[in-house]
């Protein structure tokens, strides 16, 4: 019921409105030439102004775009730096059981790390030596130390300042994978790199 009332009310307002609009249209017929010229000029000016704002808008968009692009590039560069930094920290080197010598593929990884350190001379690294749970605790503490030392010595030989390299052995205390199988053990016999 209420809805219908509203519709009637709105029609009452809209119909007289339309009548006013049609009556105005009739008046334009009487407009003289001078008036028309004036109108033309105003129209042109308006158009010109419109174009100018349009152009400014375009320029602004372009500027924004350039800025965005720059930001994107900066972001990408930053991400690249972070990725390189994360790779440095996340890429472990692995050892054979009861060994602390560096395998050829391990040496390649360390060369990459040395390159990164050369590009980032302010960084200091903590090299953590870890062992798998097999073998005894005490001996593994010494073995973990030796693994970290091998990595440190290799980096030192590649020209990295000794003062930026610290070692710490965790023996078998901090396994990366706590399970008891060869797959887990091979992941645990590692040197891990932490940037201070």
């Amino acid at each position: 019921m209420k809805k219908k009332l509203w519709i009637w009310l709105s029609l009452l307002l809209v119909i007289p409105g339309l009548m006013i609009v049609t009556s105005c249209a009739k008046k334009t017929v009487k407009v003289d030439l001078a008036q028309t010229q004036e109108d033309e000029a105003a129209k042109l000016a308006a158009e010109k102004a419109k174009l100018a704002t349009e152009k400014a808008k375009q320029e602004e968009i372009a500027r924004q775009r350039a800025l965005d692009e720059k930001r994107r590039q900066e972001e990408a560069a930053r991400r690249k730096i972070i990725t390189a930094r994360n790779l440095f920290m996340n890429e472990n080197i692995y050892f054979d059981f009861d060994r602390s010598d560096l395998k050829p593929e391990t040496q390649e990884i360390l060369k990459g790390k040395a390159e990164w350190l050369r590009k980032n001379p302010g960084e200091s690294v903590i090299i953590e030596g870890h062992c798998d749970e097999r073998g005894t605790n005490e001996y593994n503490l010494a073995l973990g130390d030796r693994r970290a030392q091998s990595a440190k010595n290799f980096l030192k030989d590649l020209g990295i300042a000794k003062s930026s390299l610290t070692t710490i052995s965790y023996g078998e205390e901090r396994p990366a994978d706590p399970r008891r199988n060869e797959k887990a053990w091979s992941k645990n016999r590692r040197a891990h790199f932490v940037l201070e």
Partner: protein, 445 residues
Amino acid sequence: MLKKKYTKIIFICLIATVFFLTESAHCRTEYDYIDINNPFIRKIPIAVPVFKSISGSGGEKFLSQEASNLLSKSLEFTGYFKIIDRDAYLIDPEKSDIIVSNINFKNWTGIGAELLITGSLFLKDNIIEMELRLYDTFKGLLIVGKRYKGVVNNQRKMIHRFCGEVIYKLTGSKGIFGSKIAFVSKNSGNKNIYLCEFDGHNPEQLTYNKSIALSPAWSSDAKWIAYTSYSKGKPDLYIKHLKDKHGAIVAKKGINITPAWMPGKFSLAATLSFSGNSEIYLLTGTGKIIKKLTNNWGIDVSPTFSPDGDKMAFVSNRSGSPQIYIMDLDSGQVKRLTFQGRYNTCPNWSPGGNKIAYAGMGNGQINIYSIDVDGESPALQLTHDSGNNESPTWSPDGSLIAFSSTREGPCRIYVMTAYGTDQRCLLALPGEQTDPEWSPRVIDN
């Protein structure tokens, strides 16, 4: 506070008043009951009836029961005895007498008991008086008799004192009673040092760090403990006085691990790697370097001294795999001891001086072995097919070995005789327990 101190003083006075009973005069000191060269082949049957309650009061009866049970259990722990079931007794010990002239030894020899311990207990005002006697049932002789008096709370101490007397009379050695075991317990990711009595009783936490503590080592006067801790982020060596808690820290670059005290001296050996390679150094008790003991490109770790302090055994991988070596400290000469297997670590020199216990790896399993120091006979394997077994440590009398084992899943501390018999769990705390280290004989505090 004052009252507590006062009772303590009284107690000390009382327990010090240990009388030799009149009959001791008949005792012979030399007995050939336990062949210490191979004592666990045949266990000696012993009867330990419930002690006689003098007044017959309920409290006294309860304490008698408790004390005699503790005595049985403590003697059984040594591995020398077979405790005869009380149900097999031919007589009611309550009705029989406890002194030699009135004991009918046939009642005991009849059930196979070769030894008999009788006791009486009198309780008054929280003070107990006990008379304990050990008899040879076949000879009908008193071997040892003692009287103890002290507050109820110290009953355990009194019983262990008597056990010490019994073992001394039977083996000529002071035994394990009164000794402690230090160990590492891992709980909620942290490892801390704990102490417990020789039989696993009364574990108490010594360090409270949110990090890793490892390898406790007792000084030979049992007043100091050295251990490794990561509480400052890396493995440093802590030397701590047990009572006063003061001490020193050795925190050189690299690892500062595996301490071992020199017998009778305030100095210890430990592995340090500040030079870039792990070597064993001799340090003062205050942590100053006296001298470098090893000098080798390989890993050198886990020192243990001969009881006379003349020699040191240690682990080195100088031959390509970890093996046990013995160094003569005077000449610096080094001799390889182990040749069986490719992985032999954790040496621990026996208090008798003639054996070294160690952990050896074979077929992917780690087991405890014992080897003669002269290296002339093959090592004796003491644990078999029971998980990984590590960190052997001799009891102060050399009769038992404590070690850690994963035989039941989590790593726990176990005890066995020096010949590998009677293997049992010493204690089970939440988490995992490792690195047992048996103290020297008596800790009196």
